[in-house]
Symmetry: D2
Subunit: 283 residues, 4 copies
């Protein structure tokens, strides 16, 4: 069932919902899902509407053309997605395979609505896994500390394949600030702690040393300010005194892959809207 997904953000005021839903109704559009949020802090309004494509008299480009004047009148920032056009996800990984393997499994089984035209890694360890899935693998080494040069190539390849989203599946390299800015809201990272706890290196070892009773993981958009990007999804799991750092690492892998998969799915379904340093995530 092909759907058009319209996401909107604008300064909050009376009549936005009526205006937008009135426009859709005037075309005979069948609204399958709709969710909205008015943020009292920022005074901004957010909305996501799913319309059954077959209920409209024309396709997405004509819809967009006709919607544009209303959007301008209402001062909307908006985006229209077509569920028949899968987003292009480029995955960056390093040596650990748990997040990558999970994404590949979900993609292959139709559980993640996207295409994966390319996987990039600074090592070659994961090439067989990627190639077995029939996906091109690019080895882009990172010379110690110099991620800038590597990202020149990464970005070129990302553009080449028409990338929509870059997913850092335990990539372990810092994305240069200018890349974060260029692709704001389009680079998704999985951090292996319940942020803002245990920012930085070896969070499971930090967690063990602190003696916490739950560990967690955080899926967030990458920003220039490391590990401070807008959070999409988090989760935690219970641990006990009996688990050492290595066992936390092992347990954490399950949380990481689950949290990344959920965060990425919501992004792909246009459920995540940026609200400054936070996100609105429509269920």
């Amino acid at each position: 069932m092909k759907r058009l997904v319209l996401t909107i953000t604008c300064p909050d005021r009376v009549g936005i919902v009526a205006g937008v839903t009135g426009f859709i109704a005037s075309l005979g559009g069948w609204v399958l899902e709709a969710a909205q949020h008015g943020d009292l802090d920022t005074g901004r309004f957010f909305q996501r509407i799913e319309v059954l494509a077959d209920s409209l008299p024309f396709g997405p480009s004509e819809f967009a053309l006709r919607f544009a004047p209303l959007a301008e009148e209402l001062d909307l920032t908006w985006r229209l997605s077509d569920t028949d056009v899968p987003k292009q996800v480029v995955v960056l990984a390093s040596r650990q395979d748990h997040c990558l393997a999970d994404l590949l499994y979900r993609w292959r089984s139709g559980d993640l609505p996207c295409a994966i035209p390319l996987v990039i890694s600074n090592h070659t360890d994961l090439a067989p896994l990627v190639e077995a899935a029939g996906i091109p693998f690019a080895h882009v080494p990172v010379v110690a500390g110099d991620t800038a040069s590597a990202f020149e190539e990464i970005c070129a390849r990302f553009e080449d394949v028409g990338g929509d989203v870059m997913v850092l599946a335990r990539y372990m390299q810092i994305v240069p600030p200018e890349v974060c800015e260029r692709y704001a809201g389009r680079i998704i990272n999985i951090h292996h702690s319940f942020l803002p706890s245990f920012i930085g290196a070896r969070p499971y070892h930090q967690a063990h040393a602190r003696g916490v009773k739950l560990i967690g993981a955080t899926c967030h958009y990458a920003t220039a300010d490391l590990d401070a990007g807008p959070i999409i999804e988090q989760d935690t799991a219970r641990i006990s005194h009996a688990e050492g750092p290595e066992q936390l690492v092992a347990l954490g892998r399950d949380i990481e892959r689950a949290v990344l998969a959920r965060g990425l799915r919501w992004h792909l379904e246009d459920r995540v809207l940026l609200n400054g340093t936070r996100t609105v995530v429509f269920p």
Copy 2:
């Protein structure tokens, strides 16, 4: 911030959202929250809209008057609540106090948006707890098996105080079918198992005997078919082989009171809509 809460259900078709939100916008109404659901099985549509009362040119009764023609045109079943008019909750309890004490605490601390004009019990044990909270207590004994006579008095008292909702806070007596029908969607029960597991008596002992690894509780509307009513909320907690039935009962008390409090709050906030034998619960 006084709000009007409009809930709607009707056969799903194009234009409902546009019609309703257009009406609200035409009055200058500020929509604070809106959620909707189209049920593919039943073909019914459900919506809940919160409007800032001060943004409207008149109060709830005038709003209702003006809304009625549109509602008829769109074939809506609808209800309008005013958040300044707390719902009247009559609590029925027996001898166990954990759910009742929790409800009283939450009511007293302003955590539950309701009034509690009366608590009824088939025993007198809980009278001091209720009276210490400044709430009238009625002792309506149940002669073994004959709940019908008791419920004649209970219903009379419920009507006397203008009751909106009857809450069975571990009341332990079966509500007569005709009472369930008269107050369909207005009697809330807490069952001490994760339904449909362990229907009937002594569910924690059943759970222990079966060796489950999680126990749970279920908040649901009472219906003539015992423990089969539409479910509002459920939750579970982890147990181990080390816990005997008595410990399950003790652990269960925490789940029961939490699940009942959540289910009741959602009902009071008009977030729960009946959909046949199921519910729609808007977050």
Copy 3:
């Protein structure tokens, strides 16, 4: 760090722990972990002890020889495992691959302490997945209703490869009662509901029809009485009115594979002891 794992069950009485730990101490054995449980219902005692192998003056067979007289004196049913000897797991699957793929991933990444000498299926769909992992795949078709003949071959192959555990990874066929009995406590099934809710076919559709607010999965030992076997592990996940049966199936896959992986790991680590129709699971 090679360890010997001793598990014990016997009628509960004074002196068992002292006797067993005294024996281990007399050999200079270093106890890394120990857990016990006395069941008040059945009057039975359960214990699991991990001993550092290097701290003992001899290996497992000599340990067993010397332990036998004490075990007889104390009327113990006992088992000794060597963590350097991985258990042989034979996986049975049908057409769905999520549980199998997860087990293979965990096995390959060293996350599950076992060997997988064989995967058996009544279909050929999963052969490529299995063979890509370098594991022999056997196609044993099931003629409608006649699982008995199929299980003759399955059991023969299981014995051929020296199988310790049979894992039904969404195998979808009923195991004949005599097979359940022959391998009591050695056949692990994953059921796609929170048992005892929704026994039988299409549990997610049953769950949707009942309108529950959580779905779950159950890992249990297979017994002749379908879906009534001793439960090893269960878990649940929250759903809402918005999810249809297909989405429950999709969400359920994540719970199923997580619950099966945990249950199997605990079995492999000798943490699960049978206690009649229930289990003792030592953390």
Copy 4:
């Protein structure tokens, strides 16, 4: 069923368990529960044993006398509790009542195995709640910043009533370092965040500003280093973009009281042993 609870910590080495359980067995003692932990980082061993009091030929003081020589030989730090002698809990509160009310309810209903001889507050708001429960209330004001003088009186009163544990039930005042040291492992605090996230003031507002998707609470022993004490228990709850700081505060109250109640119960049952800046919590 009266039980003696023996807790032990010592440098880890062979023979401790055998020695201790052998001693208990030699007296005919029936071990109901036993748990142990060897910490690889610190090289220390921890054990907790519950013995059925009636199975012993004499009472706790004689037991202690006879155990002492063995304890010295094995270099044990140990403690013996008698479940018939409830620990004396002095609660410190400020103006918020949710944690205090919950503790009082659990104490009254027999859910918490302790006595509460005194509640102390720097305000008088909660006096009626405390006195209605039949518990003495002491008002010990704190002159801005000078908690030292207040704690002189608090400690004197704590000693007067034979206090075993001081519980800071949202007390909101900083305990002077010398008091933390004097009562190391005996002052339990509930912090309204998932530590180490959001240390310090207004954690729910910090959490909202950071845009986290889960909030939490932490029960820990108070130490001179604020919010860095050994953690006993933590938990989290899911939130969404729709909840403002006030709603987080309200949701947080439920987590706080649940986490504090669990942490305190485990302390009262001698399940919590200090391991440097961490804890061992035996289930």
